[in-house]
């Protein structure tokens, strides 16, 4: 059974290319356009990975992460942060909250694959650059 990934970002184009990439790699993708939708999706389904933006309307990425980590049902789901916040302080804040991989925008497919490999211990051949 394919692994399920929740992609949370308010930017449609980013969700779009992530969806294409992840689908090609064989993951099942669910999208959320803001923090509230993300929490809603998490309640509906079980996920193997969350890829989450930070600066979003309604509920920020930080709040989503906190809720995920507080919920016993979701707290062990690996988390990749995908953000334009490039300051070190933000990165440390992310790791402190329990983020597994902090990825800054803009990013390439190679970076995404590296993150996925870290999460799932799968080493796709083509990523080794």
């Amino acid at each position: 059974m394919s692994k399920k990934v929740l992609v949370v970002d308010d930017e449609e184009v980013i969700r779009k290319f992530l969806r294409i990439h992840l689908a090609k790699l064989g993951y099942g993708v669910t999208e959320a356009a803001d923090g509230e939708q993300a929490i809603e999706q998490l309640g509906k389904d079980d996920f193997d990975l969350i890829i989450c933006d930070i600066m979003m309307p309604k509920k920020s990425g930080w709040e989503v992460i906190k809720e995920v980590k507080l919920n016993p049902k979701t707290k062990s789901i690996p988390l990749i942060v995908l953000t334009a916040k490039i300051e070190d302080s933000d990165m440390f804040k992310g790791y402190d909250l329990g983020v597994n991989y902090y990825m800054t925008k803009p990013f390439t497919k190679a970076q995404l694959l590296y993150g996925l490999r870290l999460m799932f211990d799968e080493v796709p051949e083509e990523v080794r650059v």
Binding site: E11, V13, I14, I20
Partner: protein, 644 residues
């Protein structure tokens, strides 16, 4: 005795004398030499007394009238005695004896006793000679009451005169005693050689602590401090030589041993063959203390005056420099002497006339403090000049204090502050822009990578559309940045339409921070232009709009930006429906470094910079705020009529 009584007594006595004398002439005569003359004499005597009754009573107190009268009476009586022919040498003797008695006598009663004894003695002599019992005995008997009455007459006259003299003396003595005793200065009367104290006034007792009795016969040198004895001896030596002398700052020794600093003045007074020295001294202790205090406070004031590192000078109402502090002297590399007396505008600004914006002129005219900022044309110095009036007792302007403060550095720092706040703004903008650009940039990269792997042209077309879309978004952002940097770069002032500036600022803020879901309402009217630096005015509105957005974070609401023009002003209102400002902070919000944000989140300079920039262009800024309702900032700038 008043003048009326005096006149009465004199007239009565004279009548008695007239009767007795006439009696003596008319009845006592044996061989009258000239009867005719006798009658004339009596008539003259009587007439004189009748005349006297008509004379004003005040005349009887006048010695110039009184003495001749007495002389006249003595003459008449003597002449009458001569005419009666019976008068022998012994009677003349008795008569003059009476006059002598009366002259020397000091006591009227005693004189009358003496007169009585003389009369009795003379009567007894006449009797023993057997003259009373002879044929013309009556003329001898008459002599006895005559003696008595004459004694009374002269006695009374002399008595009255001496009494008056004495009264006058007592009176004048009392007068001078009063002057002496009540003088504010100490007065010591000294006997000559040795210089012993004869009398002192009350002030001496008060000042020295000695009683008058204790001072009597004391040598004057004993009254001075032993340490000063040589000085004192020299002083008195000089006084004795010259008859007078002054000395400053000698110390007397009080009874309790403490010292009393005095100024001395001594003068010799000759009273008959005895001479005295009158020594007057003034207690200087209080005066010296006061002088010392005045000198001290003067020194302090001078030290403060000189210690102030800004330039201070005091000018007369005709701009003449009366006083300057050290900072002025140092600044003009001059000396106090060279500066004082010259006109301030000549010295400070090398001008032939007072400066145009001079606050001193304002103070001279209005008697009110004034201030202005003067930029020295050649060079970069900016001076702020304050002037304060010094009024005299009548409230007229006596002089003006001019306080010149070099604010070049202060202004430079202020410019720097505005600049650095601008940089901080750029920092916020940069991070905001980074986010804004990074999203489409991620889109471009991501879609391009997918397109590279995709062979299906129709799918690729879709991807390329996304890429183009993202690139266009980036273009828009870059455009906005360009206008901001253009504004920030421009140093000079130009005519500005505030509507455009507010619009630009709103765009910038939207770029810099992710605006909450807020409805922005613009109510713009056509405006007159103001003359200002674009970057600075944009800074004002980006700061205010940013604050407004932050105040409404997460709670929705409306941001209203309204502009209007009236009279010579343009007005911009920035209205938010945010959390509002607590009343206790309202007075502080424009203070530098005042912030309610957490450490690191705000500098506390934003509104301070807004305030500085607005006032720099002679504008005003007002704030109204209600907690949980919202805040309104109202900014007004004067319109600059730009010549076509």
């Amino acid at each position: 005795m008043d003048d009326q009584d005096r006149k009465k007594v004199i007239l009565t006595l004279r009548w008695t004398a007239i009767i007795v004398t006439s009696y003596l002439i008319l009845f006592g005569r044996g061989r009258v030499t000239d009867l005719h003359l006798s009658h004339i004499l009596i008539a003259v005597y009587i007439l004189s007394n009748i005349l006297l009754t008509f004379l004003p009573k005040t005349l009887f107190s006048n010695l110039k009238f009184f003495y001749p009268l007495v002389l006249f009476d003595t003459g008449i009586v003597s002449f009458g005695m001569h005419l009666s022919e019976k008068m022998t040498t012994d009677f003349y003797l008795v008569f003059f004896l009476i006059i002598i008695f009366a002259s020397v006598s000091r006591n009227f009663k005693l004189l009358m006793v003496i007169g009585g004894i003389t009369a009795l003695l003379y009567g007894f002599l006449l009797y023993s000679w057997g003259l009373l019992s002879i044929e013309q005995g009556s003329s001898y008997i008459l002599r006895i009451p005559f003696i008595f009455i004459m004694t009374a007459f002269y006695g009374y006259i002399v008595q009255t005169l001496t009494k008056e003299k004495r009264q006058e003396l007592t009176l004048s003595e009392g007068k001078y005693r009063g002057l002496f005793e009540n003088a504010n200065d100490g007065i010591i009367l000294l006997r000559d050689s040795p210089l012993q104290i004869a009398d002192v006034n009350r002030e001496v007792e008060k000042a020295t602590g000695y009683a008058k009795k204790e001072l009597f016969r004391k040598e004057i040198f004993d009254l001075f401090e032993p340490g000063e004895s040589e000085k004192v001896r020299n002083y008195f030596k000089e006084v004795i030589e010259k008859g007078e002398g002054r000395a400053d700052c000698l110390s007397l020794m009080r009874k309790d041993g403490s010292s009393l600093e005095v100024d001395l003045s001594t003068k010799r007074i000759d009273l008959g063959d005895e001479s005295f020295y009158q020594m007057i001294f003034r207690d200087l202790t209080e005066q010296r203390k006061l002088e010392k205090r005045i000198r001290e406070s003067k020194r302090n004031l001078e030290a403060i005056f000189d210690g102030i590192r800004d330039q201070l000078s005091i000018q007369a109402p005709d701009y003449q420099i009366l006083r300057v502090n050290r900072a002025v002297v140092e600044n003009y590399k001059s000396s106090f002497r060279e500066l004082i007396g010259r006109k301030c505008y000549e010295v400070y600004f090398q001008r032939p006339l007072p400066c145009e914006k001079c606050p001193v002129s304002v103070t001279i005219e209005t008697k009110q403090p004034a201030t202005s900022i003067i930029k020295i044309p050649e060079g970069t110095t900016t001076l702020q000049i304050f002037s304060y009036p010094i009024l005299d007792e009548k409230g007229d302007l006596a002089s003006v204090i001019e306080y010149i403060k070099d604010i070049t550095e202060e202004q430079r720092l202020q410019e720097q502050l505005i600049q650095s706040e601008k940089l901080a703004g750029i920092g916020i903008l940069t991070s905001g822009v980074t986010h804004e650009i990074n999203n489409p940039l991620s889109g471009i990269i991501g879609m391009a990578e997918i397109a590279l792997e995709e062979d299906d042209l129709s799918k690729n077309k879709d991807y390329l559309k996304d890429i183009l879309n993202c690139a266009q978004r980036i273009t828009e952002i870059v455009k906005g940045l360009k206008s901001y940097s253009r504004a920030a770069k421009k140093e000079d002032q130009c005519p500005l339409d505030l509507n455009e500036v507010v619009e630009e600022s709103l765009k910038m803020v939207r770029l810099a921070i992710k605006p909450p879901s807020v409805e922005v309402i613009k109510k713009f009217q056509t405006l007159g232009k103001i003359q200002a630096n674009m970057g600075e005015i944009q800074q004002v509105f980006t700061n205010l709009i940013t604050n407004a957005f932050q105040a409404m974070d997460g709670n929705g609401g409306k941001l209203i930006l309204s502009t209007r023009s009236f009279k010579d002003l343009v007005e911009v209102k920035v209205i938010d429906h945010g959390m509002g400002i607590p009343p206790k902070y309202l007075s502080q919000i424009f203070d530098p470094f005042f912030t309610t944000k957490k450490l690191g989140e705000g500098t506390g300079l934003g509104l301070n910079i807004v305030y500085r920039i607005v006032t720099k262009y002679e504008g005003t800024i007002d704030v109204e705020s209600k907690e949980q309702v919202g805040t309104t900032f109202t900014i007004k700038f004067p319109i600059r009529r730009v010549e076509a």
